[in-house]
Amino acid sequence: MDVKKANEKAQNLMKVFGMEEVYHSRIASFSKRMRQKVLIISSLLHNPELLFLDEPLSGLDANSVMVLKEILSIMAAKGKTIFYSSHIMDVVEKISNRIILINDGKIVADGSFMDLKEQNKEGTLEQIFNQLTGFNEHKAIAEEFVSIVQEV
């Protein structure tokens, strides 16, 4: 892509994200949220067909999260392939066409959310994940943690 075009495009995208007045500032002076937006813009600038995102929502405020989720679903609808990794299960549940759960480096489940629900008879993706990984002592661990903190 030509410099001029890239520059214009980036500037427009920054404007959409409400950051046009810091376009010429140093990234070092940005907050976590602003940096995350810059990263998202720079990954999309060349209009890629295939996209890998690792926790793209981290650091964003609630409104920007909604915007980004919408961006991802529109792009997916337009035929782009998006790989998306996250630990926040309810987001994954809502925006993914196909979910792969990985535990200890091994794939433990693969399919759409509906498929997974049918296979595991649990309500939410979080619960499915817990069930598949055989993790059910979260309460006990939490209680132990608090008791150590409080020294009782």
């Binding site: 810091v22 010429h24 500032s25 140093r26 070092a28 002076s29």
Partner: protein, 544 residues
């Protein structure tokens, strides 16, 4: 945590700190953490696996060896001869010069550090203690530095001149160090008061660069203060000597050992004592406001202006052929102009190389006359400015933001040859050319148009010289290593490069004796440069 020997020695002065209301155990803990942090090396992004696990050691302490070498030169200056004012002024001048440059470029960050604020200020520690820790931290390093530079000469001087010499030197050096720390702090305080946010950081950067140049030029002035007449050094005091601190500190030696006594010497002596004491008093007064203003460093003002540089765009399209090279050219251009730490390390040597040829020329005018000088080949003094090339080129591989070097690995390029050639082209355009052009204009003004051809030769020779110096970049990509690593490796490696500059000068000098051959030499040099650029592009840069 390791118990530092330095801190054990510091324990002896515990009472002194406590008298100033400092919580000594807390300060000691803060210092121990700071020293441990300094000992941690900064791994480079790409050759992490190359380095073996080494025990923690301080890079700064390791770099002191260089200074010990320099100090050997000082031994005769201190010990032989009877002109105490001259000798001791030179001695203190060298010490001040080295300590000051080191203070500005290496320890300013410590002085201006706001990182520990979020950790320390939330704890019930008095600001006074935090500040003391900061100051002691800097002073420890300055102490080591001063010891490395002055240690051997002072010991040998004591043997020849006696114990009084030792006492005078210790007090002199102590006051000099105090003066330097306080002086830089005062300057920073002054800037902090008037600027804010990103602008502040830029101004600090420019002041640091300006100070470094001023120190270098001042060091040259010191030599001018004494004139050599019939091989005897005479000194006639005049008003501007009051602005050259090393002379103040040289005065007590002249008074005591030289048995000289005039009112100027006493005045210098008085200044040597009074100025540091007064500045410390002002400094202590100012600490609270300094701390408050320091907070401004973490503010972010949100104004900045874009600048479009038409001519640079045009230049880029003319001198860069491939697309990759253009991209890297733009990248390197941004890095060299915007990265503050890089500017701080490289720009002072640019300023210096701008000034040096003129210092030599003024010297020459001083010795003979202007009319005589113009008819000589002194215009070749412009070669002195190319002495900055090896230093600057070897700095290209460092950056304050070296961690961003992952970008090279993600960039879709086959080899890094365009990167290296773009970086060198930016170096010529951004750094070398401005200096060279200014000098050329002034030189043509002094020597007349007859030297234009010679100046072209110098320019081409400098490019060839730079290509040869690009060897220093081998093994790492531009801007991919921390400046911390630079301190350890600089110095000795550059000596062959400096000799090479002499060779270029010598050939050019010889050629000027053959009439009408300068032009042929220019063509020949141009051919060699183009050929070697192409060869280095393919053979050296291509496979790193």
């Amino acid at each position: 945590m390791k118990d530092f020997r330095t801190l054990k020695i510091l324990d002896r002065f515990r009472g002194l700190f406590e008298r100033f209301g400092i919580d000594y155990p807390v300060m000691r803990k803060i210092l121990a953490v700071k020293l441990t942090m300094d000992g941690r090396g900064t791994p480079t992004v790409f050759n992490q696996q190359k380095k073996k696990q080494k025990p923690e050691e301080n890079g700064f302490i390791k770099s002191l060896g260089m200074y010990v070498l320099i100090s050997i030169v000082l031994i005769p200056i201190v010990n032989f001869g009877q002109n105490y004012l001259y000798q001791m002024s030179i001695f203190f001048g060298v010490v001040m010069f080295l300590v000051m440059t080191s203070m500005i470029s290496d320890f300013s960050n410590v002085l201006l550090d706001v990182k520990d604020k979020s950790i320390l200020h939330t704890k019930p520690i008095e600001k006074r203690t935090i500040n003391a820790a900061k100051t002691v931290h800097i002073c420890l390093y300055l102490f080591f530095l001063t010891m490395a530079i002055a240690g051997i000469p002072v010991v040998i001087g004591t043997v020849t001149h006696g114990l009084i010499f030792l006492i005078f030197s210790i007090f002199g050096l102590m006051f000099i160090n105090l003066f330097i720390v306080v002086f830089t702090a005062l300057i920073y305080n002054f800037i902090l008061r008037f600027f804010d946010g990103e602008k502040l950081k830029d101004v600090i950067n420019y002041v640091q660069i300006g100070l470094s140049i001023a120190v270098m030029v001042g060091y040259q002035l010191l030599g001018r203060a004494f004139s050599f007449v019939d091989m005897k050094i005479t000194f006639s005091p005049s008003w501007w000597h009051f602005f050259i601190p090393p002379i103040w500190f040289g005065a007590p030696f002249a008074l005591y050992f030289g048995h000289q006594s005039n009112k100027f010497l006493w005045l210098y002596f008085l200044l040597a004592f009074l100025i540091p004491v007064i500045s410390i008093m002002i400094y202590i007064r100012m600490i609270p406001s300094f701390e408050r203003n320091l907070q401004k460093l973490s503010n972010h003002s949100r104004k900045s202006k874009p600048r479009e540089r038409r001519w640079k765009n045009w230049l880029m399209h003319t001198i860069c052929r491939s697309r990759e090279e253009k991209v890297f050219f733009r990248f390197a251009d941004h890095m060299m102009r915007n990265e503050r730490e890089f500017r701080l390390k490289v720009y002072p040597s640019l300023g210096m190389s701008l000034v040096i040829p003129f210092i030599f020329i003024f010297n020459q005018i001083h010795m003979t006359s202007f009319a005589d000088m113009v008819s000589t080949k002194w215009y070749l003094a412009i070669y002195f400015s190319s002495l900055m090339i090896p230093t600057a080129v070897s700095m290209m591989k460092y950056s304050g933001k070296y961690k961003g070097a992952w970008i090279y690995k993600t960039a879709p390029v086959e080899n890094y040859a365009p990167l290296f050639s773009a970086v060198l082209k930016v170096f010529i355009v951004d750094l070398y050319l401005p200096v060279f052009l200014i000098q050329s204009v002034i030189f043509v003004f002094i020597f007349g148009f007859k030297i234009v051809l010679d100046l072209l030769v110098v320019f081409v020779a400098s490019i060839l010289y730079m290509v040869i110096c690009s060897r220093f970049l081998k093994g790492s990509l531009p801007f991919s290593e921390s400046f911390e690593n630079a301190r350890q490796s600089a110095g000795v490696k550059l000596i062959p490069a400096l000799i090479l500059a002499g060779v270029f000068w010598g050939i050019h000098f010889a050629v000027t004796f053959i009439p009408y051959r300068v032009f042929s030499y220019l063509i020949l040099l141009l051919g060699i440069t183009i050929f070697s650029w192409k060869m280095v592009y393919r053979m050296v840069w291509g496979d790193s």
